[in-house]
Symmetry: C2
Subunit: 546 residues, 2 copies
């Protein structure tokens, strides 16, 4: 397999042939436009500048100046990243891509960069959709992207406590491969699972498999090790503690600005054996939302609880419903969960929901029905949706090549505010889409739900104009971000802040906390070399440590 | 009711009469000694020094220099605090006790103290057992204790999202009284419930009712407002977010050193209607621990899952068992939980556990059986233990008056380390008790359990020598704290750091995190007036803001 330098995942897995024809057919039915394909440029044609810096001899073996390497590390994997790549618009590429083999290499590379005032971009799978790995330099003379991909091993498994010590650069599938012989799983499946790393999940507070309770990676973390310019921070393995503010919670979500996560003890689960799931159809959206809230507040804690609105259900699950489709799933390694599903379905019926007929008998042992990654199958609509879910980033790339704007954004808010937020955001998206593209489709699903509110996730599809698509998307994104901020939502539920969310994050973050975080950054990274321009309101300027 | 200035809770609820006779009888059977009663001194006899500072006229109405007030705010409620009070050993008392009526008063008081360089001790219910509210001054010319007791209202209830905006100074029962008409509850019941406040729980990451999952107050918090010397920090109400490191997690556990929490949006539950519970006896402790681990890792998430060792079961539940007694309880507002209890009992039987015969039929509607605070009853041994649990601090005071050392300490560790930790800590306690007191009793229970480890909680009873009891206890505490640190436990699971845990906390906390936290403190509290000497490695010295 070959990783695509410009788009999602592996070159060999790109959408083509019959899948492409079907995709374009569906899009033609929804959107006007010619759908002309645009080939990505060759790396040679990009004319990358020479690296502005050379590593010392002791580190030269870890550093690559290969143009494809550098081009492949220039952007994350947002729509605007892929479009810029397709158009050959690589204004900033890292001068070098460094690949440490072990933690000492990380320390040595960071020491060198700190000494020279070189900006360091910590890099896991590179799947950021918020500009979090973009090597703009921000006043530094050069940028080294520190790719942790070689740190990919499970170092230790504690089966008694069900935990493992894992290197931060491991990709999702490779992590699960190493845990499987122990009968254990991290069970953290973000959409980026195949192409994102443990360290990236921790640095960005990634959202995973669980729709309730353990939604973010935060709660699956037991302890971590972080290399900072002033030393290594290692927290103690503890199941719980009340000793001062949590050290781990400072590094969770720090997006590479405070240190480089090299390994972590992660809490594991036994692989689930028992599953029950179904889909429930609703005639109107308000009832679907009310039912979902009832399930979220029931204490049943389904592993899957995704409410698709009518548009989302049609596009991605192939189901026509008046109001919404709720995908429900329970799972356990210990006890049958059919009773929990029954009670959840009862709550849905109270709100006019109709469970799918193929859900009967789903309870029980699901071993034979689980996918290779351990994900179960909960009825055909749910299955269609799930396989669509994993193909979405590849389809997004195919659409981008055909001048179609296809991107998502997400938030979270309390239940009392959801109705107004949904209306304001949808209207803002609609107005912006009409203005920049003439027409378009807006869909919404819940990726996670909490007792006190949902995490709605919006998808936008609109006809783009080749050469203007980044600007078109940015205008839409600005409009919806303003609507989210004004409606009391968070600028991100699980996509992190990066560079793109900064204006709204700066408004969301309490002022005194910003001052505290900036002071913490100065203490840990006095030279301000760690991912400057990301997360923090202003890059900390180098202070003569070079 | 009159709050005791020297001991726990209300004067009228002190142990006396038949309860005292029975208690002393039980102690006489276990420990040698005369058990002579020592009356607390009168406040007048303490000879408190005059306050070293006068408030400005605008704040004078908020400030008390009353000797009983000042004496009552000199110490927390640890055994060593109570003993020092009984012996009239009040080396440090606050110069003034200030009682703000609203947030603006808090700001004004903090501004005044910051201007004058006066140390400020934020004070909720004063139930700290780690020296967290002790007004030692630490180089400041005077100390004002800022008692938030007047900020005791529920300001807003959002029944849709099941959350409430609550003032930080509210005591547990008053909070529940205000939520009850809405059919909602915070359901956070630490042992100090009656005499501790929401703000105190948040500032110390208190452990509450739930034995699993939502063990600390942290997870019940939706957003908070904190007055700092550089402004008010208010986080957005959100059910979940991934926008940078969590602002709330910096203030959770900050123990009054970074700011004064004035209000918070808290996540609530519906009041549980359905309960099931039992106790399970084990013939040997290792099997009891293995069974508890199986339950903790099952995903059943009992609300109550307390393993008492044989000594604890005998002393506090009146049950004689060979190995241990596991108190199990499930509860729900939505669905029957009898099936969960059955499965948990089955897991216990797999490890040789014998459920109590009175547990059958406990499943079902528990409305008629719940206590006034909503706590259910799970069989007679469990009930005995629970009522004993609430009387423990009063009994501890009665024993202190009779020269008996009676104190607790707690930790948490991963399951793989528990056996060695339990042995090392018990041996260290045994050796220290024998050395300082000749003999004594050591008991252990789990207060909370996690999939990756338990939170063991130890009780020590030993004959004290009047006049030397603080030193005796400190010697024991030092010995067990060393054993905890060497065995990989946390110096505190839910009693906070304060002053007493500092030496071991300083070793537990990662160095770079300490630097970051100190820098954050300097940014928020440049004058270093907030609770100096608590939590942070060195008091930040005043920097000429006075």
């Amino acid at each position: 397999m070959t990783r695509s330098w410009w788009g999602w995942g592996n070159v060999e897995d790109a959408v083509r042939g019959a899948e492409l024809d079907a995709l374009l057919g569906r899009v033609r039915a929804l959107l006007p436009g010619g759908l002309t394909d645009h080939e990505p440029p060759s790396v040679a044609a990009l004319g990358l500048p020479e690296p502005r810096v050379s590593p010392p001899a002791s580190l030269a073996g870890l550093c690559s100046a290969d143009p494809t390497d550098r081009a492949g590390h220039a952007h994350g994997k947002a729509f605007r990243d892929v479009v810029r790549n397709l158009q050959g618009d690589l204004r900033h590429v890292p001068d070098l891509v460094a690949r440490p083999r072990h933690e000492q290499d990380v320390t040595d590379l960071l020491d060198w960069c700190t000494r020279e005032g070189i900006a360091v971009v910590p890099y896991g799978g590179g799947s950021s959709v918020v500009g979090g790995v973009e090597p703009r330099g921000d006043g530094h003379p050069a940028v080294v992207t520190l790719d942790l991909g070689r740190l990919s091993r499970v170092l230790e498994v504690d089966a008694t406590s069900r935990a493992a010590r894992v290197q931060a650069g491991v990709l999702g599938p490779r992590l699960e491969d190493q845990l499987r012989p122990h009968g254990l799983t991290l069970r953290h499946f973000p959409q980026s699972f195949e192409f994102s790393t443990l360290g990236g999940w921790l640095a960005t507070r990634a959202g995973g498999h669980y729709a309730t309770r353990y939604t973010h990676i935060d709660d699956l973390l037991e302890s971590m090790r972080v290399v900072t310019p002033v030393g290594i921070s290692e927290s103690r393995r503890l199941p719980g503690s009340g000793a001062g503010p949590s050290p781990d919670r400072l590094f969770l979500g720090s997006e590479g600005t405070l240190g480089i996560i090299t390994e972590a003890w992660m809490r594991l689960q036994e692989r689930p054996r028992l599953r029950a799931g179904t889909t429930v159809r609703f005639g109107d959206y308000a009832s679907a939302v009310a039912a979902t809230r009832a399930v979220a507040q029931s204490g049943l804690n389904p592993a899957n609880c995704r409410l698709l609105d009518a548009t989302e259900a049609l596009i991605n699950a192939g189901v026509s419903v008046g109001g919404g489709l709720l995908v429900l799933g329970f799972e356990s390694a210990d006890h049958p969960v059919g009773g929990s599903l029954e009670r959840a379905v009862e709550l849905c019926r109270d709100h006019g929901g109709e469970p799918s007929v193929d859900s009967a008998g789903e309870a029980g042992d699901g071993r034979a029905r689980g996918g290779s990654d351990g994900r179960g199958r909960d009825g055909s609509a749910a299955e269609t949706w799930r396989s669509s879910f994993l193909r979405m980033p590849y389809q997004r790339d195919a659409l981008a090549r055909h001048s179609v704007i296809a991107e998502t954004f997400e938030t979270a808010c309390t239940w009392d505010r959801f109705g107004a937020l949904h209306q304001a955001v949808t209207e803002a998206a609609r107005r912006a889409v009409d203005e920049v593209a003439g027409t378009g489709v807006i869909a919404c699903r819940f990726t996670h739900v909490y007792p006190d509110g949902p995490a709605p996730y919006f998808s936008v599809y609109a006809p783009g104009r080749w050469g203007s698509m980044v600007r078109q998307w940015d205008d839409i994104k600005t409009a919806v971000s303003e609507a989210i901020a004004e409606s009391g939502g968070t600028i991100t539920h699980h996509h992190a802040v990066g560079r793109d969310h900064r204006p709204w994050y700066d408004r969301q973050r309490p002022g005194p906390f910003a001052a505290a975080l900036t002071a913490a950054k100065s203490a840990l990274d006095p030279g301000g070399v760690l991912n400057p321009g990301v997360l923090l309101p202003e890059p900390v300027r180098p202070q003569g440590t070079g």
